[in-house]
Symmetry: C2
Subunit: 137 residues, 2 copies
DNA sequence: TTCAATTACTACTTATGGGTAGAAATTAAA
DNA sequence: TTTAATTTCTACCCATAAGTAGTAATTGAA
């Protein structure tokens, strides 16, 4: 019942970057140190995020990472999708899924509401909104 | 964002047993076949559930598993605790946890509500209630 | 007592997520 | 052109979850 480390790290990294928009690019070394994320793991994750076109990477000296689009245009859900961690509509708390209306279990109806709230949280929260609240993570 | 297979299977097994209270004991073979759960994995899980004293086991001929207490006295959360899958009060959607009120992130407040709903779902749903609704899983 | 039916135990294998190592590619500046 | 600072790529290693195999222990009945 938790996000994968990759998603957790990714959210923290991009939140941190959104909170420091003054510095145009941030290096993997800085992010790794400030956020206490293993350097090698961080660069692996960042490569995925670059491929998903949420950020761009600048290689070579004075290189680093910068946003490809405005943080106001990036949703938490965009990050989760990269790591296959987004909550699907059919996703079942028991991992069975696709029960029809007749055979559904007693947990089904109770699962709908928290699921929708989490989907809403992920699908409507932008990085800018998070940064705006002075996120310290 | 999903329960472990062990928890998923355990909920399904005990729900099935609660739905068939007429037959006093159920064998691992029957449960495995009816619920399509690998036999060897099922017996491993059941041993844990027996140790947690939710069910008793009867060894030898005509043996099997039976409830140690009434299904009305067993909560989903009791099952989740066996496999360390229960949602703790401090549990954080980002896996960081223990943020104080000042440094909390923007997701924190939005996380509270779905978390509480899930805790409520697990802590207040009894096996009997589930069985009463004709659970087919 | 012997047998067959059962769970429990020990130990292994496989799959996946998390993490690491080293070298290659790229780039700005000296 | 050389160098140092950076990301990227390929290939691993480690820990944990998921699943399997074989055998021991238990028990009711023939
Ligand atoms: S009815 Fe129960 S098992 Fe089926 S999809 Fe809904 S929550 Fe999952
Ligand atoms: S403030 Fe954010 S990171 Fe901290 S415990 Fe709450 S949800 Fe997790």
């Amino acid at each position: 019942m938790q996000l994968s480390k990759s998603s957790q790290y990714a959210i923290r990294i991009l939140s941190y970057m959104a909170n420091h928009k003054d510095s145009k690019v941030m290096t993997a070394t800085e992010l790794s140190e400030k956020l206490d994320i293993p350097y090698k793991f961080l660069t692996k994750i960042m490569t995925d995020i670059v491929k998903a076109q949420l950020v761009i990477s600048i290689r070579g000296r004075d290189g680093g990472y910068a946003f490809a689009r405005e943080p106001s245009e990036i949703l938490i859900n965009d990050i989760l999708e990269i790591f296959h961690d987004a909550i699907e509509d059919e996703q079942c708390v028991l991992g069975i899924g696709f029960c029809n209306g007749i055979t559904k279990c007693a947990l089904h109806d109770q699962w709908m509401e928290p699921k929708m709230l989490m989907q809403k949280m992920f699908r409507e929260s932008t990085l800018e909104k998070i940064a705006g609240q002075g996120c310290k993570i």
